[in-house]
């Protein structure tokens, strides 16, 4: 392994994870789940698409659902760049390096650039989006999980080292990581551009596949209330894991599965990571506290089920899965 030094002066400025485009077999069911249970606000809906945003998001959407038949898919993962000028520089940069990049039109977004990353994830970048009123101080309209902002996504990839090398060149920085015990073999990497703990996580597995997307909430009460509201609205089985505390990044988490099976995390209690002398935190792969400081371990489904990306063939992981966690789980629960 090598932990790459993030490029301190990338040619263009990616600022943060911005939005995701996901499939939905039934937009009404999707809307009911995100709006009524999780507490999102709907910005727009038509026959083919649903756009929602979190409570502090003062722009059009952080999640887009596209009506589609068949198995669930993630269509695009979206990042913001700072300006359109950044997008233009990136367009040249990617094409010069053999990643076919092209500008596209997307509703409610400014100039938008499409490109696939080195491990096959279809990306989308834009610098501006239509403005919408934030609902942060419309307190009487807060309900369900009170999701604040899209914070990060986690992606299973067959080649974690290739992913971190590529993203480091774009200025992403690693805050925490998992490595095979006593070796330099990177198993999972927590990467970020913004000043908090994460924007995108890559972990070893069949991929590329979207493991989950995560929204920040303000407090523990929102997490519990989301689960309670799910229960009283008939979505009890949508709670897949938690509440629990990840060792990595300190997230107090809960995981839901939406009506199509996309996995959504609500979490709180990350930290800031800004300084150049910040030291990335290492976790040994065999240390189950990285995933859970206390409580029941995750199910097999949580570990192994994920959403494929449209048009991205799934490859077998380069590293073999360790049997540790599963064994421990079965031991505890049977």
């Amino acid at each position: 392994m090598s932990i790459p030094v993030p490029n301190p002066s990338p040619d263009f400025n990616i600022t943060r994870t911005s939005h995701l485009v996901l499939s939905s077999n039934d937009l009404e069911k999707t809307r009911a789940f995100y709006e009524d249970v999780l507490g999102f606000h709907v910005s727009d809906q038509d026959d083919g698409a649903l756009y929602v945003r979190g409570l502090e998001e003062a722009y059009h959407h952080s999640l887009v659902f596209i009506k589609s038949e068949g198995p669930r898919k993630c269509l695009r993962m979206g990042f913001r760049m700072y300006t359109d000028e950044d997008l233009k520089i990136a367009h040249t940069y990617f094409n010069e390096r053999g990643h076919k990049a092209e500008f596209v039109e997307r509703p409610y977004q400014g100039l938008t650039l499409h490109v696939n990353d080195v491990v096959g994830v279809p990306l989308e970048f834009c610098a501006t989006m239509d403005q919408k009123p934030a609902l942060l101080q419309q307190f009487h309209r807060h309900h369900g999980g009170k999701p604040m902002h899209l914070d990060h996504v986690q992606i299973a990839t067959h080649n974690v080292q290739a992913a971190i090398d590529w993203y480091s060149e774009l200025g992403f920085r690693m805050t925490e990581y998992t490595a095979t015990d006593g070796t330099d073999e990177l198993w999972g990497v927590w990467l970020k551009r913004k000043d908090t703990t994460q924007d995108v996580v890559f972990s070893n597995g069949r991929g590329p596949r979207l493991h989950h997307l995560a929204f920040h909430v303000s407090d523990i009460a929102s997490i519990i209330h989301a689960a309670d509201a799910a229960s009283s609205m008939g979505f009890a089985s949508s709670v897949e894991r938690g509440p629990g505390r990840h060792g990595i990044a300190n997230a107090l988490f809960i995981y839901f599965r939406d009506p199509d099976g996309h996995r959504v995390e609500l979490f709180t209690n990350h930290y800031l990571a800004i300084d150049s002398d910040f030291v990335a935190k290492r976790w040994e792969l065999s240390d189950t506290s990285r995933s859970q400081l206390w409580g029941l371990p995750a199910t097999q489904n949580w570990f192994f089920d994920a959403t494929e990306f449209t048009g991205a063939p799934v490859l077998e992981p380069l590293l073999d899965a360790p049997p540790v966690t599963l064994e421990k789980f079965m031991e505890q629960t049977t």
Copy 2:
């Protein structure tokens, strides 16, 4: 002073504070405030009356608002007795002692008894009420202050000693009290029948007047959210005091004024008081921490403004008001 021993075997069983009947100049405004801001659920409404209940209350109402012109009034303070048999014994008991008691018909209530207490408060007792589904596990319908149950009322009276003597005979027990420094002069008494800290509080002042009614909430977040929701719904000025912590009974409180000016407390963090060897806690009148462990003291309005009871002449208090608290307030705030 004497702190009376509560009658361990009263002739009839009063179980708890149950409901209040209050005036409303405008039932729609009242409904908007209690339903949308504080989070009550409406059980019934007609041209002349509005009935609401808290989230865990599995019966018809804990607050009744009667459409009425003119200055706001409290029409009745309601207690539950355990059975109708208790009511019948009480009917005799009160009449024998010169308190005119009579049975009345009240909508949605079983047998109901009216009587005035020794300091002039118009009381109402019933043992049963129409059942309604509790909303405790209809989590997605919880909002605003998420009021759980009516817990207690506070009444200003000209004669605290008379009040406690009378209520002790009915089996009420004192959990905490305020006394003029170094004397046996009772200034305020916290009385209860149920197993928690209070059902009714009497404090020295022009009276009888209803100082406030109080609903229990489950956590601090509900208190903050009630204030936030009040703000975003245009009721910011309804927040009269708090959040703060009462020394007495440990309540984390907030006080609102409803559209008519009735004062409503939401609070959490009382304690149980059950055992016969429980010792009532004394607070010196000059100790301002009894009313506020930290933060700004209450305003003059909070101390001196209260709601008169229908048909109950207001008498001047037997004890002189101490200037202490007000002086301290002005000192801190100017």
Copy 3:
């Protein structure tokens, strides 16, 4: 089945669940767990015993640990009666009915009565206990799970119907219950004397055995912090179940196993149950939401492991265990 009407005028007044006497193989380990992790305060300790209390408990102890070798045991379950006079009446009452009752001396307690209940649980009653300062307003000394007061215990018994018949005669009242689907066969009964939801729960199983004891906490944050503190103090594996929400009684719960294996619940969000027209809530046995409104079901250990009572032979349950819950668990987790 029959759901007995609670005796409205029992001969003596049992007021609440009061304390438990439990074995400890190592008082220092026990103390570390209860004091440092869960946040109890130690009232006394000597070579053979450890006494702790919760934060609002203004008396000597709610848990007593007796140094003992061998498998863990529950030595006594303790209730309060209101007065010593009640104890004396009960002494006669029990002996007349063939339950051998005797007065004993117990440190820090007033007059204390021992008797075994109808299903073999060794009980202890007292009306008074040495006073200790409550720590409710010593806020800077609150830590860990911030346990407020002992609320209830759950006991597995071979004969639920016998238990409820016996306790109803003593004035206990049922607030919720589980019954075999579509039948009148009582599977679990939630009984109480005080004005809240429970004092003692009996559920069908090999018994008598203590399933768990439960302390009330003020808010969800205390539950999460208890788990977090357990983790950072090396007690992560003591978290056995939760956080989750019981359908029955609405408890937001977490379960720990102490160093000897005794199961301790911290919970919040019960409700009051006082009125004579309160209707007990029925749950079908096959409805898993009774035990968990959302999230992972409990492990087999949680369902089947419990603490035997000293001197009480364990009998096989009269009702057969339904396979439902376990099947559902395995389905979800494998």
Copy 4:
């Protein structure tokens, strides 16, 4: 007024508010307040200085207290730059523009640069600091207000427009602002470098003076517990304002005065502000909801008392103070 466009490519990279150097008349008293009441951790102490850090801060200090006689002072306000190279460029930049900048040695810090800003605030920049273990996952050591990280400082200045012009050139960006009603006259500006809402606030008043420093906390419960702990440790009078909700930036706040009188805010519920198309939010000066969405307005002390900076003469503000807020306060409280 003009709202300057923040320089998108400043010559050097200031990353965030980092630390403050404050006077202390009595280091033991200061330590007791910050360590025991607010929950800070002490990194070092000697006869002349005390260094503390918040729970997620993995470096030596965010607050430095220097033993000093006489009226309280703020000695330095500290920012981080990203690298030492940035510091060297800044050294030249400032000196070329007539702001005398010089490198100094500071304990536990890397290369450190001193300079006064345009309104006279003595600044200190460094890029590195000695590392210390973060206490974020030492949950059992969290107590008091559980302060997470230093977030921002507010400074009263005689010339808000000069301040924002100068800081904009350094790349600071405005997220919210107060302006005299219907005019372009800037009254208060909320400026930031990091991805959250603020690093430094300038508001019109006699200055330069430090109005307050602010630490982020994870939830409302921490704010209430800080006040409760202050009360039980004898620091009740240190609570100066709140809890309340600022309209500006949505902070749920509480303000304390430390033993020397320095004002410390604990708050939660800010939001992220990252995108180039983010629009700064305007508040009219007469709109009191900017400072308080609900509850009692601040006292005169809160508005007008602040800490002078060492060696910085205090100038009268260019804009006249509006009488609005104070009048409203007196009206409500008398």
